[in-house]
Subunit: 459 residues, 4 copies
């Protein structure tokens, strides 16, 4: 099947040529449909969404701009719904739509969708719901699936992932200790304090996937935590405030500080039931890999959008400085070239990791995911910053999406672990995986040299 | 066909997984053979080569260390000969061996071969011979092919590409003016001055592919030059001196200053015969694309070798500073991770360009080649520099290959045009290729917004 | 006079030692007083200020947190009032307090004051008032001085500088064209549109220093504009909205979009009276130099505060990752060292420029100011970014001042002209100032070499 | 005394203005004389020196180009001899000439002298002699002073500093172990292996300041080593080979591998006599500080020379690319500006450290020296690299001094300890020096906030 010619306006022609052979006919079809949906429906709705969202006050958090539901309905009709299930073990949940695609294909879809902030949610492919749905699907009881999974798959409710705690390096979940769950008979009493709980401010939020300490003294630090499915309408759940990201409150979802005060659950609220008490850490491990890569996929799309805005700006005929259009300044055109190169490099690194997931699941792709995790957001920061610079003051204002894009991308440098942690891990895996071979090769070379009569200078 | 498990010690597992589906059984077979040849024959011979090469004096330039011929004979036997012909229009010249491979496959082979400085020449795949052979094959007369092409294909002689001139931005060949060829009847009298003529110092060098000005007043600056095939034993050809690269003379090949003083050629020495007078610029254009990419392919291999040396060094148990092995210092392990990531990104960019050449020839891959050209050498500089830093003073000395690798790679930032020129070109192509679509999309979005009732703030 | 030992906690000991000999006894005294004021009064008041400022709604822009007036009163008492007048031609206006200091001394004072966001205004040393006061003092009529200068000097009112226009590279004021002033008899009718007018949202703002086009067809583009002193309470002056910097509205001052619709002025509102019509560009030139440097002075203080916060964080004993305090990670301690070095380098560049202003006025210090302008904000961006990174998500939130500091500093890379413009100017001045000498020296060396018998290789 | 107007062609006008008040009349006089000597004598002699030095073979190491002695004689006459003694405790040795200058003044002199590779030695101010002279002056016995110090001060002999060993992180001298001195009665038998012994290849070299292990089992690792003054003509001292820096052998001085085989010394050859056995580490500590800074001083001068060459190149009218002179390309002029800024920042950091030595000796300036040590060579690498890039291939060749300058500067990133070590030390000192004050200030602010009624959000 021939590719939609529009694709190479999103995925650089060179990259597309390299991976097209690995795209199924279905994958190409979905991609083509997505581009139409993005351009005809999502992009024009973006400004409307912000127009429909109250600027401040409690009403800013009370409802969701209606245009979003319109988009969701359309995405369902077009078969662009729940595509994140592609390539994973839960594709059957996709209900025949979107299933059968590979992670490689999904990576491209996710990238393209990120050209518009509304598109990922419109396709029911946005964080933290995707990761949470995976947790419920993998570990939930039938009753939990009925209560939470189906409405999430249908886009009827939203969810929050209630893990990170103040003062804790939460990227290592075994450190968590500010939230405890005390079991008393069939009851579970939760007390605790979380922050940066994305989505908890959303009026539709109907599930907190909560990590709480149940056995603080267990000698294995990997058996001290349990995951609970918590209904945020329960007494004692308090949304304290939204944390801000460089001044943005990210309403209506928010990244909230949340207090759990004597919240009463039952043992049936343990993810998968009481037998799973103490398996929190294990469940979290399964959740993290693909989510990290999803962020990187979308970050590439965001960078490409920034470059698009940069191209429009520097070729705007009314924008001349010192008698020249911006594009005719040597340093500006060099910045375009660098941005193009970095987007293309970043994309290929993401695709490399996605392919590894296709072949070896997330667990077998940790090195490649790690490389993407510390490389892509850093590259994207620079790309958006250059786009900002050619826009002057407009670039940091509310009149372009660039400043908010930059701020959002900045968070990726510590979300799910800071760059430094991922670098250390990748470096160690590199040594573990390759050093034995290199040492052995060196030994063989030395032996062969001896036979050839090579005399090494002796120091 | 299953892949040789050694491959992922050269080509990162993630990258290999992504491109393996595009590798033919033959490609995998050749790659496997190459790895064996590299490790068993080339790598041990490298030190011997330098042992056989006199350290100074005229004898340094008088012969070639015999081990090289041994390697060449072996490479022929193994079918590793003239693989550069792969994927191009001249694969038939490969004589059944190596033909049929794609540029994508060759890119990987070239990268692996660069782990040893001798390997590319041992396989008859080194610059400037490959580019020169292409010129003779494409434009040469039957007599010229017999005289020059066959011996070059057989590795019996070597050649030089006599283009660059002092004081001239030679990356734009239309600027060349220091060498003229005056036609007098059937005779051609050449006078001129060139420098940085790689390979001209080699005692085996038997062909100068010479660019000379034949029609300085032609109104088209693209019709002023002609290519000649010159035998360097002719009277008047003087090899003045080797230019040095950060102190290295790169014997026995050298990058020489050459004077042509009243060298007498015949019209039959015009590339392809007298009808091609004035077609020099056109012929040069065809030569440049793939050669630029070949340098990048090998640069990735060089970077990987630097990383290998870095791994060996930082895990050397006798090397402790402040009580820790180097690998246990946070900044060192981060440098390993960065180097790994950059090699992988650089490789994918090279492969992207190679694939474009497979699909659209070099002419259709200029943007992708340009991106590789300005991105890869810059990344590789940093990677080798980090490897040097962990080696301390040893890293800049003659006791590791790192300093020479760094110096050689530094030349790539202006060979075939400085970074700045390639960035400007890539930036312009990006605007040309994508701006119309982006502008049109913006227009469509604005129209759709109007229908939705979006009110843009009017400034 | 011995220096206050607290100074070296603000100004690195090395830098202080270098410049202390150029500090007068009075300068040291003021600096000491400032440190006490900063620590005892301003820093504790910062959180209170934000507590007193309504979070949203019109009341956010309706008043000023009362603590600011408390600080201003105290600063006056302490002789820390209007210190910006130091070293300039208007020191007599300082009323005996603060006068007599050099720009070098003021640079240090400004840096220290920037450790707290309230301190510069508390000392009546904040933009845009300082620049505006200079304009009124230099060009204003006696009546204008009585109406505007005295209340500004007394801190009774505030002002805005109404220059920048949408769609215009306003760093070159001769480009401005969106605001016109039509003269009809003794009346002047202003119509126009401005944005990024800092301070226009402040309820105390009682003066717009407005740049309007009065003679669009004047053949000299430097005579087309006129400066007017406009009372923002006049009919037709509309504050449309505050522009946001990333997500910050910077209330209660704001960077506002302003529309002037048929605003009626009189000829007496021309800066200095009707004789000055057409002298707008000239007046602007005088205004820009020192202001640019003031921003850099404060940026260094901001960077130092970021480093202080970083030190507190990485030594916080409850913050351990992987069993170590952050300070014990190699890359973190290296980031501290780099930040220290960059702050010290940035400060010395600022002091170099300040000294040049002392010697040659701003006009004679354009190169040094330009170097500071493009170097300091870029360095400071990196320093704050590192401080953010060690804070994790807290670093980008409202719970530390770091994110807002970063956003504010980012604006400096195009405020008063983007980096690229300043680099181009500095590069040109470097060539103009030094090339003749270098060329002459080269000529003399060549002549001397000839006498010595040096034979240069001839190419 | 008015300054020589030529100064600001070497020391940027801004920097000069800042430090001129700290220059004595004598300092200005010497600086003026130096500039004349540099331009009239040294610069023209540089090419002659290389003409007089054989290109290869043993004769390359057999003598010294005679022009050097001519320069030395002239420098003595001009009072430019042994200026390095300025500001230190040994100024009396300067014999009335050069004495009395400060380290700050010497820093400027050293920078200017580095514009020509010959000038530092011509003034008897080059490494390793300066450090070695200091060791002999400080610790030597009267006989040792007579034998070594006086001829060194007179420039009659040269010396080597024999410390670094293969496989040892020699930046921490307590690690040294490959060279031992066995004491037998009055005899001392030295056996050992050193490398990177700068100056040991020089035919004039008449002293090795040798660090050998005398008491390997001493429980204090700082008492295991002893310094000996060794005459390299003694039997058993073998100069094995010069180590190369990139491709440069740095003849006639060389950085040599040296073997000591049963070299017989007497106890009188211990630095200062037998009582000093075991004081080697202590003596080394005293030697390192100022030497590190001297390298940085000269590195700034080298960078300035690179910029001078860059200016000449980009304004060369015959050098046009794409119809423009290089200086008219936006990225080139930006590179000039960046280089100017970085030179100026690097210089001020060096001067800051020099001033600290003036006030607190080297021991009290370790932080400032450390900052210069890791900042300046890194900046200078980038500056020279840019100068190389505008020169194209010529920039890496033997036809400009740029490549050798780059290679020499690269060594500074590990000479006397790698960047990483110095960063770690500076970071730790920063924490030690400033954290207590910052913590105390924070405590005071919190207390004052409480009084003001500030309510901090409790997490």
């Amino acid at each position: 099947m021939a590719s939609d010619p529009r694709i190479t306006n999103y995925i650089a022609a060179g990259a597309w040529a390299l991976i097209e052979p690995q795209f199924s006919a279905q994958g190409k079809q979905v991609l083509s449909t997505l581009i139409t949906f993005l351009e005809d429906d999502c992009m024009p709705a973006e400004a409307l969404f912000h127009q429909q969202l109250p600027e401040s006050g409690p009403e800013r958090w009370a409802g969701i701009p209606p245009v979003l539901e319109t988009l969701k309905a359309k995405a369902k009709t077009l078969g662009l719904w729940n595509l994140w299930l592609s390539g994973g073990e839960f594709q059957h949940l996709a209900g025949g739509k979107g299933g059968g695609l590979s992670n490689l294909e999904y990576a491209i879809l996710a990238e393209v969708s990120a050209h518009c902030t509304l598109c990922p949610e419109a396709m029911n492919c946005s964080a933290p719901d995707t990761g949470n749905m995976e947790v419920v699907a993998r570990f939930g009881s039938p009753a939990q699936k009925a209560k939470y999974l189906q409405p999430l798959l249908d886009g009827k409710i939203r969810s929050a992932f209630s893990m990170t705690e103040y003062g804790i390096s939460s990227s290592d979940a075994s450190n968590l200790k500010n939230t405890t769950a005390r079991i008393e008979g069939n009851k579970v009493i939760v007390n605790g304090h979380k922050w940066w709980i994305s989505g908890a401010g959303d009026p539709r939020c109907s599930l907190h996937v909560l990590v709480a300490m149940t056995d603080p003294n267990n000698e294995s630090k990997h058996k001290r935590h349990t995951i609970f499915f918590v209904d945020p309408k329960l007494p004692g759940v308090e949304i304290v405030r939204p944390m801000k990201v460089f001044g943005y409150d990210d309403a209506p979802e928010g990244h909230c500080e949340v207090i759990y005060k004597d919240v009463v659950l039952s043992l049936d609220d343990v993810a998968g039931g009481p037998a799973n008490i103490g398996r929190g850490f294990e469940m979290l491990q399964a959740r993290l890999g693909p989510g990290r890569l999803h962020h990187c996929m979308r970050a590439i799309g965001v960078a490409n959008r920034a470059l698009d805005l940069m191209l429009l700006r520097i070729t705007n005929p009314i924008r001349k400085t010192f008698g020249k259009q911006l594009k005719d300044h040597g340093s500006v055109i060099a910045d375009v070239a660098k941005s193009r190169a970095e987007i293309d490099m970043g994309r290929m690194i993401v695709l490399t990791a996605a392919k590894q997931i296709d072949l070896h699941k997330a667990k077998g792709a940790l090195k490649e995911i790690g490389i993407a995790k510390f490389s892509v957001p850093a590259l994207v920061s620079g790309i958006i910053d250059r786009a900002i610079q050619v826009h002057g003051a407009e670039g940091i204002s509310q009149d372009t999406p660039l400043a908010k894009m930059w701020a959002g991308n900045r968070t990726l440098r510590f979300a799910d672990g800071p760059d430094e942690v991922h670098m250390a891990q990748v470096g160690k895996v590199e040594i573990r995986d390759r050093l034995p071979y290199i040492q052995d090769r060196q030994l063989r070379v030395r032996r062969a040299e001896a036979k050839l009569g090579v005399r090494h200078h002796k120091l």
